[in-house]
């Protein structure tokens, strides 16, 4: 069992979550994770880490400090991420997921990184 198994387990047990990955923020490489069949995890991790990194730079440029939580809403689902210490926990979820609960879970997960 990896050091991130508990974090990933806590996120994926939420109804509507289809994938949870721990990704290196700088590289976009998957450290650990689990996903439903059909999710291209490598591509997803690389692109999400890139988005998260750039969101961080945007926040920094605006003088807002570090990004703590990132939510991307799409037609049929959403991508949620929270990071710390160079790692990002990313969750992929259906559109109907309970965002409030998942946000709390991701922030809690990020605090353990």
């Amino acid at each position: 069992m990896s050091a991130f198994a508990a974090v990933i387990g806590a996120v994926t047990r939420h109804r509507g979550v289809t994938a949870c990955l721990v990704v290196a923020e700088e590289d976009g490489i998957i450290v650990d994770g689990t996903a439903r069949i059909g999710v291209n995890t490598a591509a997803f991790a690389a692109l999400t880490a890139s988005l998260y990194r750039k969101a961080g730079r945007a926040a920094d440029s605006a003088g807002f400090g570090d990004v703590s939580f990132f939510d991307l809403e799409a037609e049929q689902g959403r991508v949620i991420a929270a990071g710390r210490n160079g790692l990002v926990v990313v969750a992929v979820a259906d559109a109907g997921v309970n965002l409030g609960l998942l946000r709390v879970e991701l922030l809690r997960a990020a605090a353990t990184l």
Partner: protein, 159 residues
């Protein structure tokens, strides 16, 4: 091994790779170091040097991998303080081309790997047909002449 030696055919796939992956420099070459396409270099001498060094690294990784792991090392990634390079391979027919990509914080290893997959498909689709079986083989003595010809074409000095 019937790998293409001419330039031009791989320009668009490589340019798209550079645009998508946000890399700064990219060179596609034969394992021998003969350049096929490049993006981002201003001087032919730089391309020539980079290709020679990349070919040597690729050959070293290939042999080192065979020695220690019984299979060639296919990828080399080096993360410097500000810049990183990725030396990967692009399968084509029964051979492999070598790709060198240099990038900074605008991109990442994951992004480069992601778009390398698309580059591989695009290169396979754009490659010229293999020469007929009875065509004259590429001779080692032609290497330097072809290398210089490709560099001249890439930098607009072809006669």
């Amino acid at each position: 091994m019937a790998l293409p030696t001419s330039v031009g055919w791989a320009d668009l796939p490589l340019q798209r790779f550079v645009d998508d992956a946000r890399v700064q420099l990219a060179v596609l070459m034969q394992p021998s170091g003969q350049v096929l396409a490049q993006v981002g270099f201003k001087r032919s001498i730089d391309v020539q040097t980079v290709c020679a060094l990349s070919a040597a690294i690729n050959a070293s990784g290939d042999l080192l991998g065979r020695m220690v792991d019984a299979t060639p090392f296919r990828v080399l990634h080096h993360a410097g303080r500000e810049k990183q390079f990725y030396l990967g391979q692009v399968p084509l027919r029964d051979g492999l081309l070598v790709l060198l990509a240099v990038f900074d914080t605008e991109s990442s290893l994951g992004i480069v790997q992601l778009y390398l997959g698309e580059l591989q498909s695009a290169v396979a689709a754009a490659a010229p047909p293999p020469p007929p079986a009875d065509a004259a083989p590429a001779l080692a003595e032609d290497f330097e002449r072809e290398l210089n010809r490709n560099l001249a074409q890439l930098f607009g000095r072809a006669s």
